[in-house]
């Protein structure tokens, strides 16, 4: 650029003048990857808050224990965030950083609570789990102070299995058939059924148990048994499974149904060969999650099955134990050994629920299309085809 053109520019336009007092132009923090300065501020804030919290709770104030330390750390961390951000940023930046800190720490609190739940149950109940007889024996003749190499929860596991098995055998066909009726047949009556089923999902599980207790045990005179417990579980699970299956069936694309009907299939064949196979992973997930809910539900079982300390395999033959009931009775017992056994059983229940949950995820992710044939088999088929020609 020559001086001549520069002079001409000066005459026609105003060049921006640098203002020494203006704040430096910075990109907004909080978007994109944090700069090294931001990372350092974050680290420094929370380390400083931890040190301060230790000083305040453990040295200055009479607030001993880790619970106070963590609470104070959280509160101080938020205050320190405000202070460090306001050194370099404006009000907008302060509120942004503070909101991020609050939201992240809220999520961490929830994660910590979940971890502490699982960790605490395993921590209190690992000892009985080391003995194999815990899984193969029942508690008949075992006193509350007997060592862990005597007695086990086989009767509770078997009881839970039988009760759930009956409940699934009742609710699965009924629930899915109801969902098919609500989505595929339709009409005004289906609308009524849907309304009632949705309303009954609000039924508290204890009321379902009380209903079966009143009708089956008090009025009919049926003994407290695994069958009664299974009925209570069915009453509780039926609306849940029917509703979940209804939601799954409703999202099957209607283009598939119409294509099947246009090809001349009857409605029954459409349901059996198109709608249900399409919805199979979703249905399986709905059922498994319903079962996971049922296996841990204590209150209906508490009212209807009674407690047995021995193995019962006949669901109509008197009292029968189940895992949640065993845990509940153990947790209420004054004996420390009983409580520890209850925690061990709770660990088993937790693992069972986790397994069901993982199974539900795997089924939901399953691909229904067949895998592509390998290159070799395709070549072989091609060669065969050439030969035939």
């Amino acid at each position: 650029m020559t001086t001549e053109t520069a002079e001409r520019t000066l005459k026609t336009t105003h060049l921006p003048v640098a203002d020494p007092d203006a704040p430096p132009q910075q990109p907004r923090p909080g978007l994109g990857k944090p700069t090294s300065e931001e990372s350092f501020a974050l680290l420094g804030t929370w380390l400083g808050a931890l040190a301060m919290a230790w000083l305040v709770t453990q040295q200055l104030l009479p607030l001993d224990g880790w619970a106070w330390l963590v609470t104070t750390w959280l509160a101080l961390g938020l205050i320190f965030t405000v202070v460090t951000t306001s050194i370099s940023g404006r009000r907008v930046d302060v509120s942004d950083r503070l909101a991020a800190a609050i939201i992240t720490s809220g999520a961490l609190v929830v994660g910590g609570a979940l971890l502490s739940t699982i960790g605490f149950v395993i921590f209190r109940g690992w000892e009985p789990l080391l003995h194999l007889n815990f899984f193969t024996d029942d508690m008949s003749g075992v006193g509350p102070r007997d060592p862990f190499d005597r007695g086990g929860i086989a009767h509770a596991i078997v009881g839970s299995g039988i009760q759930l098995g009956i409940a699934i055998a009742v609710t699965l066909p009924l629930g899915i058939a109801t969902a098919v009726f609500m989505t595929e047949v339709g009409g005004r009556f289906a609308g009524i059924v849907r309304t009632i089923v949705e309303a009954m999902t609000a039924l508290p599980s204890i009321v379902a148990g009380l209903f079966i207790y009143t009708v089956l045990i008090v009025a009919v005179g049926f003994p407290r048994s695994g069958f009664a417990a299974a009925m209570a579980l069915s009453v509780m699970m039926l609306p849940i499974i029917a509703r979940a299956a209804d939601v799954v069936l409703r999202v099957v694309p209607s283009g598939l149904r119409e294509a099947s009907l246009a090809l001349g299939a009857s409605r029954w064949r459409t349901v059996w060969h198109v709608v249900l196979p399409t919805a199979r992973p979703g249905l399986a997930t709905a059922v498994i999650l319903g079962v996971a809910r049922g296996v841990g539900e204590t209150s209906p079982v508490l009212l209807t099955s009674g407690v047995a300390s021995f193995m019962v395999t006949d669901p109509t033959d008197g009292v029968m134990n189940s895992l949640p009931l065993y845990i509940f009775k153990g947790a209420r017992s004054p004996e420390l050994m009983d409580i520890e056994r209850a925690f061990a059983a709770a660990t088993v229940l937790l693992i069972l629920v986790l397994a069901l949950f993982v199974l539900a995820r795997l089924v939901a992710r399953q691909r229904t299309t067949a895998p592509r044939p390998s290159l070799l088999s395709r070549l072989r088929r091609l060669a065969q085809h050439q030969e035939n020609r």
Binding site: I118, R124, V185, T201, I206, V207, T298
Partner: protein, 338 residues
């Protein structure tokens, strides 16, 4: 101009009638339709029958005790004094404590998962929340009873010392005693509420997160392009869009909190007094009342328990229905172009 040859046969076209469409099913479809309808009717009979049975069983109790059934606090079958006033207040206070704890945590967690978490761990976090919802309530009850209750009692003392002038934080014990009396602070609605909060939190969080994730991407990007911070974007786009989900999810959680039995039964010390003091020992809920009193109940008492269960069911039903309406209405606003 070209002309098409017209066949003489078409000059006089035959009568055209629309093809007949059969509306009523025939053959196999008829069987299918009848079977499905009858199963639907059966399920309607079973599920609706329970509701009708509960309502029918409530009539004698309500006729006998009248409105006093809702206001009387004592449950003394031997004196023929039955009422659910105290347990209703207890149910509501446990649920209220649970919601006070669960609502902010569920909202923060949902916001974290949908807006702040790195994309690579998002689906894992969603699964974790679902897993948290699947953990049986008895396990949260044990967690609350054995691990949290001593800390909750200590926190209750602190609350009483500093906020004791509020009626709900009052406790009938001296907070400044040299050794504070732990037995006055355990087994309270506050302790039970913490365990119940863990149960309803994942449920509310899942609903909120789902609604947040439906926020139109275009509007979020527009807010960022206008120079807003991430929090500004969340405050002006995500939260207003998800308001229905926030309210609906909270109410769904409330419906679950009202009916929760086993964790409450494990933690509380049963007491039949109408008390708003949530930190003090002793409270009761409708479901804990049923679980505790069904065994030695006579026919009349059983009918009274069924009435209490029916009242609980109606309250839960109203809360759930309102929640469903609110959540569905919020979805109808999702038509904005993304």
């Amino acid at each position: 101009v070209t002309t098409l040859p017209v066949s003489p046969a078409l000059a006089d076209p035959p009568e055209v009638a629309p093809r007949k469409l059969a509306r009523t099913a025939t053959g196999g479809d008829r069987v299918f339709e009848l079977t499905a309808t009858s199963i639907g009717a059966l399920v309607l009979l079973i599920t609706g029958g329970i509701g009708a049975f509960l309502a029918w069983q409530s009539i004698p109790t309500l006729e006998r005790y009248g409105w006093a059934f809702f206001t009387e606090s004592a449950w003394q079958p031997e004196a023929d004094v039955l009422g659910i006033g105290a347990v209703l207040v207890g149910t509501i206070s446990v649920a209220a404590v649970a919601m006070v704890i669960a609502f902010p945590l569920a909202l923060l967690t949902a916001l974290f998962i949908s807006e702040y978490a790195p994309a690579s761990i998002k689906s894992t976090l969603v699964s974790l929340v679902d897993l948290m919802a699947a953990v049986p309530s008895i396990i949260y009850g044990m967690w609350g009873y054995f691990l949290v209750m001593p800390h909750a009692a200590a926190f209750a003392v602190w609350l009483q010392q500093n906020f004791g002038w509020l009626p709900i934080f009052q406790v009938g014990a001296d907070p400044d005693a040299a050794v504070w009396d732990q037995s006055r602070y355990i087994g309270s609605a506050f302790c039970a509420g913490i365990a119940v909060a863990m149960m309803v939190l994942p449920m509310s969080c899942a609903v909120m997160r789902q609604v947040f994730s439906q926020t139109p991407q275009g509007e979020k990007e527009a807010a960022l392009a206008l120079g807003s911070t991430r929090w500004g974007m969340v405050r002006t786009v995500v939260i207003p869009f998800g308001r229905g989900g926030i309210i609906g999810g909270t109410m769904l959680g409330l419906g679950r909190a009202l009916g929760e039995t086993i964790a409450v039964l494990l933690i509380i010390s049963p007491d039949f007094v109408i008390k708003p003091r949530v930190l003090e020992v002793g409270t009761n809920t409708v479901s804990a009342l049923i679980a505790g009193r069904f065994g030695d109940a006579s026919a009349a008492q059983l009918s009274a328990l069924l009435t209490a269960g029916f009242v609980l069911f109606v309250i839960t039903l109203i809360v759930n229905t309102l929640a469903a309406i609110i959540v569905n209405r919020s979805r109808s606003g999702a038509g904005t172009d993304a």
